[in-house]
Every structure is written in C-alpha cells, then in structure tokens.
C-alpha cells in the first residue's frame, strides 16, 4: 500500500497506487453499509449454524437447537398426505372391487394409487405401464389374459400368485414335458398345426398330421381349436400374442420342454386395499375384460 496518496489529474479521484503498464486504478471505495451487509450475512449464517443441523462429524451432524431435520419434515408431509388420502382409502376399503369403477373419484384414486404400487412392485418384471418383458413376463396392456382379465381374476392372481408354493390358493398348472412323451415328428407336426391356427403353417401336410396329436395331447387344456382356458392358465394358441415366442422353433421348444412362469403371492406384502387398487390399475391399462 502506498504511503503517499496520489490523485488522478483528470478525475480528481485518488488512485490505489497500483499500476499496470501505465494504467492506474482509481480508488472508488465500496460504501460501508455494503461491508455491514456482508457482516450481517455472516451473523445470519452463525445463527443458522446454531438453529439448524450444520457441522458434520463422522457419524452424523450437529442437530441444531430447533431440532429440525429433513427426515422429520418428510415424515410430517407424508402424515399430512396420508390424512388427505384417508377419505379415499376408506372408500377403497369399504367398496366392493367391482363397484369402484362406478365411482369416478374413487376410480381415479385407485388408478393413481395402483400405478404407484405397480411401479414399486410389479414393473421390474411386467415393465412400466405393463409393457411386459421377453422371456415369459406377460404384457398387461394387451387384451390377452392367461388367468383371466376381469377385475376379480386380476385381484385373485395378484393376491395368491402363480405357481407360488407358499400360498395354498395359488394358481397352478403344469404343461407336461412332451419331449418325453411325443416323438420328434409328432412334435414337429403339432407345431405346424399350432401355426396353422393363426394361419401361418408352412407345411399343410404336417399340420394335418399334427391335428390328431393336438386333439390327443393338447386340446384338454388349450381347447379343441386352441382357444385356451383361463381356468388352467392355458394360453390361446390362435392369436398373435406369444408369451415365449411365436416362431416354429419357439413352439417346438415350448412343447418339448415347457417353461413355466412363477409370480409371487402379494397378499403377505401388500394389504388387500393396495391389491384392489392394483387390480383397478392393471385392468385399466387397456385390456381389462
């Protein structure tokens, strides 16, 4: 800092004494209140330190004398939200599942609530929005249902699961391992016949031969025209939707050594009201019966 104050000739303002390549800086000091505002901000932050959680240490942080925490806040907010939902939750609880769609407000609440539950619990396998996943995780937005697409059927499936051995009321069925029962030719013929049901057979002769095999082995569950059965979760074979793939190789593979999907029973994890909402949501995805 200079000991001698220098004044700029043109403006009459003092310089700071700093010089860069002949350019001198004029001393135009900030007003004092600016400085005091800065001090006030520091003071504010100190108060903040005392009132709120501020200084971290290894396993936590200072709590602050107000005792505020974001966790408490979210708990309170959730409690408020639950209180606001109480009326609707009671409505869901008191209303028969089949009657929920008749009440527009309740229906909307069930759809939204079901969506949240779906995304948390079901979407990992069935995809967000019920878009399904390859390898046996059915699309829930289409009009194809293995175990029935009514509200009650969906509620039953979600509650008790499919082939879930811990639940006595679970939906069970098993397609025999036809690789041990039928010959290669028979399997080939029946696959051609199955393709012919959706008009895609390449080999009409084999398909014709397969018809008898189908009647003897498959029709009991899948129906004489491959129309399927919701009672045993037997897929309809004459439509365009294939759980394990619709090519001839896929069909041969499934006949030879069938895959069976498993879905957990949700009754132990989700309460009955949530399952009701889930049923409403899944039913509304676009294929509900």
């Amino acid at each position: 800092m200079p000991t001698k104050i220098e004044k700029d000739a043109v403006t009459g303002t003092q310089t700071t004494g700093h010089e860069w390549d002949g350019i001198k800086e004029l001393n135009t000091p900030l007003p004092k209140w600016w400085l005091y505002t800065f001090y006030a901000c520091i003071l504010w932050s100190l108060v903040y330190w005392v009132l709120y959680p501020a200084i971290p240490y290894i396993t936590g942080a200072t709590r602050g004398i107000l005792g505020w925490s974001s966790r408490t806040q979210i708990t309170e907010q959730l409690a408020t939200a639950h209180a606001a939902q109480a009326e609707y939750l009671k409505g869901i609880h008191d209303t028969q599942l089949a009657a929920i769609p008749d009440n527009p407000k309740l229906f909307e609440f069930a759809r939204r609530g079901g969506e949240v539950a779906f995304n948390d619990n079901c979407a990992p396998c069935h995809g967000v929005g019920g878009s399904g996943n390859p390898g046996g995780f059915p699309v829930l937005a289409d009009d194809v249902w293995l175990w029935g697409g009514t509200l009650a059927a969906i509620q039953q499936t979600v509650t008790h699961g499919i082939r879930w051995s811990d639940d006595a009321d679970t939906r069970v069925s098993e397609m025999p391992t036809f690789g041990e029962i039928l010959s290669h030719d028979e399997i080939n013929n029946v696959a051609e016949y199955v393709l012919s049901l959706s008009g895609r057979a390449d080999d009409p002769k084999a398909a014709e031969a397969g018809a008898q095999v189908f009647t003897d082995n498959c029709a009991a569950c899948h129906g004489d025209k491959g129309q399927g059965s919701h009672d045993v979760g037997a897929p309809r074979l004459s439509d365009a939707v294939w759980l394990y793939g619709g090519t001839k190789a896929d069909i041969v593979s499934q006949v030879t050594k069938p895959k069976h999907g498993v879905m957990p029973a949700w009754s132990g994890r989700l309460d009955a009201d949530t399952i009701k909402m889930l049923a409403v949501y899944v039913h509304s995805l676009g294929g509900g019966k």
Binding site: P29, P31, W33, G130, S131, D142, V144, D239, G286
Partner: protein, 505 residues
C-alpha cells in the same frame, strides 16, 4: 432582492461546502499519512425544496404513477360467474393472469416475455432520445423516494432545518419529529406492500381479511416483506440504490450518443464561475454566469454536482435545472444555464458555432423504434388470433405400442383439451394419417375416427385415447399421424402432429 437571495444561498452553501469537504476528504483526510480506508462513509444527502417546470412534471408523474399503482387493483371487470371480477389480477392458485379482456394461461407466458422485451426496448428507445427519463421520473425507486422526501420535508422542514435537527443533541422534540416521520413512512410502506398483494388476490376480499385479521399467514409475510423493503429503500437507502445496487446506471450509457438529450451544465456559458461581489466582479461580459451558489447541488436528490459533467449518480431528474433557473431569473440572467441538451450541441456552442439541430431520427432510434413496433405487432397478432381452444397430445411411452390378440397394433395417447372460454364446450376430436385405424376414448362412446369430447369451462380436459391400426396396415416403427380438434359451433380448429409406433420390421 437578488442580494437577499444570494446571501441566503451562501449561508446554506457553507454547510454544503462542509459536507462536500467531508465527502472529498473522507477517504484520506481522516487517516492522513496512513493507508486509505477501503470503505467509504455515507454522506447523507439533504435535498432542498425546489419549484419549477421539471418539479411540476415530477409531481405529475408521481401522482399519476402512484394513482395507477394503488387504484388499478380496485377496477372491476365482469367475467361472468365463477371468474374473478378484478380487471388486473395474477391468480397464482388457479394459474391464470387477467388483464381486462385478456386472460392468459400458463402456457402463454410468452406474452409476459413479449411485454418484458417491449419494456426493455422502450427503455432503450427513450434513453437514446432523452437520457435517463426512466430514472428521473418513472422508476419506483425515484417515485417512492420522492414521496418519502416530501413527508420528511413536511415533518422535519427543509434542507437547513433537517441538517440542524440531525446535528442537535437528543431531545424529546427531535424524537417526536423522527418518530412521526418514520411512522408515516412505515404507513406508506405498509399500504405499498398491501397494494402489491392486491395484484395477486381480490382487492376487496383482501382488505376485508386484513381488517378483520383473518388474512393468511403468507399474506402478512409478503406485506411485511414489501413494507420493509419499501421503508428501507425509499427511506434509508435512496440514492445508494441507484449508485450501488441498480445495474441500469452501469450500462444505460451504452444507449447514449452525442445526440442524446441529457441534463447538462453549459460549461461554456457558466465558466469562469465565481461568487458574485457587487462592484468587484459583476461585469457579466468578463465572467461566467455561474455564481457558484451551489443551488443545483443543494436540490440534488443524489447529492452530486452537475457541473462536474455527466456522471453515474445523476438520475437526470432535472431538479437542478429548476433550481438554477430560479437563481438566474433573480440575477436577471437568461435561464437554462443547466439544461437538457446534447453533447454535440454543447461542443458546437463551446466552439462558437451556431446551434445545430436536434437529431431525433438516428440509426439508433430508428432501430429501437422498429424493434419495438416489430415485437408489438407480433404480440398484437398473437393476441388477435389467439385460439380459445388448444390441444396437446402425449404419446404413451410405456408401452410404446401394444400387439393385440388379433394382431392389431394399438397406441395410447393422453390428449389434453384446453378450453379457454367461460362456457362448457363440446369438441370433435378426429384422427387422420393411418388408413383403417380406429380411435377409442377410454370410457367414451367412439364413432370411428371422430369422437365428441366435452371440456368444462376455463379448464383442461384430459382424455386417454387409444388408436388401433389393423394388422393388415403396415405401420412400421414410426408413422406420422394428426389429431384435429374442432369446435363445430364456432368453427375453430387446431391440430397436433404426433406419431403412431409399431414393431420393428
């Protein structure tokens, strides 16, 4: 007569001189021989009362602007049942802004953008023509500071009285005056804060709530906030806001050029300045017109000396013109020693050239004017052809498409219908671009590729729409389609381009 005036000026000038001296010496004087202080003391400004053309103009502007600010929320405008009847209202909870016959939805916030652009360009235009007109007459900081100074003058007296009062030791009388002043300031500040809230809540309802102490906590909070800022900025901060806080003075000079009218001290006429002493230096042909009475400094609300030339602190309020004209008249000299003039004119006159003309039409002003007219035209066009309906279509992402049992492909859409009128309307939604496709609205009777949909008054109706393309139709991964929304009664139509997705081929 003129002697008297001058003597009175001198007595107040002495104080002014002392203040100026303090101000000049403040950075160094107090700590002579040591380093300069890093922060400057505030030199309090005691503007003197002044009369004249520009003061009258300023009072008029102040009255008009304050009247607009305080009264506009009270203007009623009937919009029919269920709608607020306040002419100017920003209704946050229901997401609407009202301005007389105009109603703006959040989707149309570009009107606000347009308005801000107009305000900016308008400011540039005016500034390039006549300098800091905004700062001097219309800026809220100026208007409220002026109002607060007027109160101050009423309670504490004019400049000299106020200076004396501040120098006085503490007394009951001083306390009473100060308390009265701050009381009135706070009252004005409260009314200012309250009026601000009225632009966001129905004014009569709000007043009723306030009077009966039933207003919401947030209302009190905001009124408190604006009361405090008004009191602080207009009562205490004043010129500090313009000098240190406001960005505009820092870059407004970019709109200036040598043909911009600014408040100017006519140096060529005023210099050499000097005190007027009878029989000593009263030969006007040998001296400048400025008698160094510092009346211009005394009336200045920002406490500067206009004779130092153009400066950042000068808000171009032109009160110094009034003050100087007053003195010049008493001296029998021509007025306008300080005047609105351009730099080009000043240079010309200093060199003894005839006064050049004012150049109002310049590339700069033409550009700003064209820009202003352009933006205004676009906005007006938008407003005139504003649709009272709109449609937004969101294609479902999960799943992108669904293969149905018979092989048809189905796509889901969320369709939002915006009914911007005050009556319930029935629209026809139709779909085109995909031969053979059918449209379904969830829980609504469908009619092939067109469907009737109802939208409640002044609201958005949301419908889940499903479109099915027959198996035979090859849609490919993405197929352009169009949704059209028509009001069959009014004939209004809007369209939305979307896509229909299918499996990879």
């Amino acid at each position: 007569m003129s002697d008297e005036i001058v003597v009175e000026e001198v007595s107040s000038v002495r104080e002014q001189k002392e203040a100026l001296k303090r101000r000049e010496e403040a950075p160094a004087g107090a700590t002579a021989g040591r380093d300069q202080p890093l922060y400057a003391d505030r030199v309090k400004v005691y503007p003197r009362k002044v009369w004249g053309t520009f003061r009258r103009l300023k009072w008029a502007a102040l009255g008009l602007l304050l009247a607009i600010y305080y009264l506009v929320p009270w203007i009623r405008w009937d919009r029919g049942p269920g709608a607020p009847d306040q002419a100017v209202l920003i209704d946050m909870p229901s997401r609407r802004a009202y301005f007389f016959f105009i109603e703006i939805w959040p989707q149309e916030v570009y009107y606000l953008t347009g308005l801000l652009i107009l305000a900016a360009v308008g400011l540039f235009f005016v500034t390039s023509l006549a300098g800091r007109v905004w700062c001097g007459y219309a800026c809220p900081q100026t208007v409220w500071t002026d109002l607060f100074m007027w109160v101050e003058r009423l309670v504490e007296g004019d400049r000299n009285a106020r200076m004396r009062l501040d120098r006085q030791p503490f007394s009951v009388g001083k306390l009473a005056r100060k308390a009265t002043k701050h009381g009135i300031w706070l009252l004005i500040a409260f009314v200012t804060g309250g009026a601000w809230i009225m632009y966001f809540k129905d004014a009569p309802t709000l007043v009723h709530e306030l009077v009966t102490f039933r207003a919401a906590e947030s209302v009190w909070l905001f009124i408190g906030l604006f009361t405090f800022t008004t009191y602080l900025l207009a009562g205490w901060a004043r010129e500090q806001v313009c000098t240190y806080m406001c960005p505009w003075p820092r870059f407004q000079a970019a709109m200036f050029d040598e043909d911009t009218l600014i408040v100017t001290y006519q140096r060529w006429r005023g210099e050499p300045r000097g005190k007027l002493k009878k029989g000593e230096n009263d030969d006007w042909s040998k001296r400048g017109d400025c008698i160094d009475c510092k009346a211009c400094v005394a009336v200045c609300p920002t406490g500067i000396d206009i004779r130092d030339g153009q400066q950042l602190e000068c808000i171009n309020c032109a009160l110094c013109i009034d003050a100087c004209n007053d003195v010049m008249a008493k001296l029998g000299r021509p007025g306008e020693l300080i005047t609105y003039d351009t730099e080009a004119n000043q240079i010309a006159q200093e060199q003894g050239n005839p006064r050049p003309r004012y150049k109002l039409i310049r590339i700069r002003t033409i550009f700003y004017a064209l820009l202003f007219v352009g933006v205004a035209t676009v906005m007006l066009g938008q407003l005139l052809f504003r649709n009272t309906l709109d449609i937004n279509v969101l294609h479902d992402r999960n799943p992108l498409f669904v293969t149905l049992s018979n092989g048809d492909i189905r796509n889901g859409y969320t369709v939002k219908l915006l009914n911007k009128t005050r009556e319930q309307r029935t629209f026809v939604l139709s779909f085109a671009g995909l031969p053979g496709a059918t449209m379904d609205v969830l829980e609504h009777p469908a009619d092939g590729d067109a469907v009737l949909l109802i939208a409640a008054p002044d609201s958005v109706a949301t419908y889940d729409v499903q479109v099915r393309a027959p198996r035979s139709e090859s849609v490919g991964e993405s197929h352009p389609v169009t949704f059209t929304l028509t009001d069959p009664y009014k004939g209004e139509t809007v369209t939305y381009k979307s896509v229909f997705r299918g499996p990879e081929r």
